[in-house]
Amino acid sequence: MANMKIKAKIKGDVLKCKVQATHEMMTYNAAKKKGVEANFITHMSAKVGEKTVLDVSTSQFLSKNPILKFQAKANGIKKGDKIEVTWTDKSGKTVTESKKVK
C-alpha cells in the first residue's frame, strides 16, 4: 500500500511540494475509546539531495491522512532531481519514499 503521495514541481525559482501521508493519526482520546494504542506521525522531513526542504515535528492533531504543502527556494534544485520524504510515527515506524521533481 502506498504510504504517501508526493508531488513536487519547480516553478520559476520556487520548489512547490505537496505530500499526503497515509496514516490513521490516532489521538489519545480516540485510541482510548477503541482500546488501542495511540499512534500518529511525530516527525516528517523532505530532502532534495543533501538539502532539507521540510522538517516538521507534529502532534496527534494533524488530520487523518494529513496533507502538507510547502515551498522552498529552488537554489540549485532542478527538474528530474529526486525528492525524498521520510516520516516517523509514535510506534517507531519509519517510511521513506522518493519521487522525481517535475
Binding site: 482520546n29 516527525h43 530532502k47 507534529t58 492533531f61 502538507l68 519509519t94
Partner: protein, 148 residues
C-alpha cells in the same frame, strides 16, 4: 540471503539519516511543549518567556469549519523564519506542529489539523533576526473532529 541482509541494512541506514540531519527535533528537545495544556504554556516550553509582535504573519483559516477533523490552516510570511509553530486551544493539548525552517524555506505552508471544538489557532514564528512574531484567529467548528 546475503543480498537480503544488505538490503535490510541499507534501508536502516536511510531511515537513520534524516534524524541526524534535521536541525532540531522538537519532540525530543522540548518534550514539555507537547504535553502543555494551554497555548501560553506551550509557547513558554518551546521558546521561553517571549513577547511576540502581533504582525508579520498572515494566517488564513475558514471562519466556520464544517468538519473539525480536517481544518485547513494556511500560513504565509515574508519574514525569513528559523522556526514556526502551530498551536490551538480546542484540543486537550495545545501544540500541533513545529516547522524547522532554513534560509531557503519560503514561509507558505498549508496543513490540515483536527479541532475538537470551536477555538482559536495561534501561530508563533521565530524570525532569523531573533524576533518573535504571532498571529491568531478564532474559528467555529460545526462538527468536532478530535474523537475521530
Amino acid at each position: 540471503m546475503e543480498r537480503r541482509k544488505f538490503l535490510g541494512l541499507s534501508l536502516a541506514a536511510v531511515a537513520l539519516v534524516p534524524a541526524s540531519l534535521s536541525a532540531i527535533d522538537f519532540r525530543e528537545t522540548k518534550p514539555d511543549a507537547w504535553t502543555a495544556k494551554t497555548v501560553d504554556d506551550a509557547i513558554k516550553a518551546l521558546y521561553g518567556d517571549i513577547k511576540p509582535e502581533e504582525s508579520g504573519i498572515k494566517l488564513n483559516v475558514p471562519k466556520i469549519a464544517s468538519n473539525g477533523g480536517a481544518v485547513p490552516v494556511k500560513v504565509k510570511s515574508d519574514i525569513a523564519m528559523k522556526s514556526l509553530t502551530i498551536l490551538q486551544d480546542a484540543n486537550p493539548e495545545a501544540a500541533v506542529a513545529t516547522y524547522t525552517l532554513t534560509e531557503d524555506s519560503i514561509v507558505d505552508l498549508s496543513v490540515k489539523i483536527k479541532m475538537g471544538k470551536s477555538g482559536s489557532i495561534t501561530i508563533i514564528g521565530e524570525g532569523q533576526d531573533g524576533k518573535f512574531y504571532k498571529a491568531s484567529k478564532k474559528l467555529e467548528v460545526a462538527l468536532g473532529g478530535c474523537e475521530g
